[in-house]
């Protein structure tokens, strides 16, 4: 900022127009709004959002008590019954089926004479779902798809009990819900990776 020699100054409160700076008419109050950067930004945003857009919709809802494991070799989700396994409870499509701790205990200390892996409540609920599906869509369309949405810290025996029970009533095409991190699976089974139930 330049330093000026002190001298006489006209205060702003003194209304002597002829002493003030001269201007040629009024300055226009219209100004052009430059729309080019805004449209550029909009276009980039649209391209980005279209790339991340998923047309398959929400098959699965994130639950606060379930932290899913991550996987790089994944495939897209398909609609199927969802068995949720948190550290506390096991659910089927949101309805409580059993306590995880009880299942873990049952797996560690099997009752003599009983099937150690079968979860009766889960089996009966899955049977009801299966019968309903077959009654609506026919037996040949039932592929036995089920999604297991389990917390990453759950012990494997609990998972196995759920898989065993599901397979015992015909749900043997199991998908594990994961958080996708890579670009997806390069190798797929020759018979296909399952589809809608």
């Amino acid at each position: 900022m330049p330093v000026h020699k002190p001298g006489s100054r006209l205060y702003g409160s003194i209304k002597l127009r002829r002493f003030k700076g001269k201007g040629s008419g009024h300055k226009s109050i219209h100004s052009d709004l430059n729309l080019t950067p805004m449209i550029d930004m909009f276009s980039l945003l649209v391209v980005f959002l279209l790339q991340t857009f998923s047309a398959s919709g929400e098959v699965l809802f994130m639950r606060e008590d379930i932290r899913l494991p991550e996987a790089q070799n994944w495939t897209d989700l398909a609609r199927a019954p969802v068995i949720g396994i948190s550290m506390n409870i096991v659910t089927l499509d949101g309805s409580k089926i059993a306590d995880t701790a009880e299942l873990s205990l049952a797996a560690a200390n099997p009752t003599p004479g009983a099937n150690p892996y079968l979860v009766p409540n889960l089996a009966s609920s899955l049977e009801v779902l299966k019968d309903g599906y077959i009654a609506t869509n026919g037996r040949e369309k039932f592929l036995g798809d089920v999604i297991v949405q389990a917390h990453r810290g759950v012990d494997f025996p609990v998972i196995w009990m759920v898989l065993y029970t599901a397979a015992s009533v015909g749900y043997d095409n199991v998908s594990f819900a994961v958080l996708s991190t890579g670009s997806g699976a390069k190798f797929l089974p020759k018979g296909g990776g399952g589809g809608a139930p």
Partner: protein, 160 residues
């Protein structure tokens, strides 16, 4: 915004035309709003496993991979690490690196097996008591990465 189509000379009607940007900006705004509302920020996906019982029966009612002509490949997960078994004799122990499982070594060995058996697609992953679900999923993930997309999951003591 003005679009210039050509120079107009004196006496002629100007060939400059204004492009109306308002509908375009409206459309973009609506599109962005829709995409933002319907955006899925957490990418949920699945990895498939096949249970050994293909129809009806419970998994342990039938023995695992009982076809004698097929090469049996299994990965057993224990507290010490992995045991990679190829056929009835070949057993390879892959120890942990500190507290972490050595997934890279498992991947390398599985890829070697895949190179010598390119048509082989199925494999069994077995886990012992106390192994976490995350470890099983990561192992299955590496098996698929190595070229074995048909993975069966079972308890380790059922792999025979």
């Amino acid at each position: 915004m003005t679009v210039s189509v050509g120079g107009g000379k004196g006496g002629k009607k100007s060939v400059n035309a204004d492009l109306n940007l308002v509908p375009f900006i409206d459309f973009l705004s609506v599109l962005i709003s829709f995409l933002l509302v319907s955006a899925v920020w957490t990418q949920l996906a699945r990895i498939n496993v096949t249970q050994k019982s293909a129809s009806g029966g419970a998994p342990s009612d039938t023995p695992l991979q009982n076809n004698p002509d097929q090469l049996k490949i299994s990965v057993a997960i224990s507290d010490r690490g992995f045991v990679l078994q190829t056929g009835p004799i070949d057993k390879q122990q892959i120890d942990k690196k500190g507290t972490e499982y050595n997934y890279e070594d498992l991947l390398a060995r599985l890829q070697t097996i895949k190179e010598s058996n390119p048509d082989k697609e199925d494999l069994i992953v077995g886990a012992k008591m106390g192994i976490s679900y995350e470890t099983v999923i990561r192992t299955v993930d590496y098996c698929i990465k190595a070229g074995f997309p048909s993975v069966t999951v079972a308890p380790a003591d059922e792999i025979r």
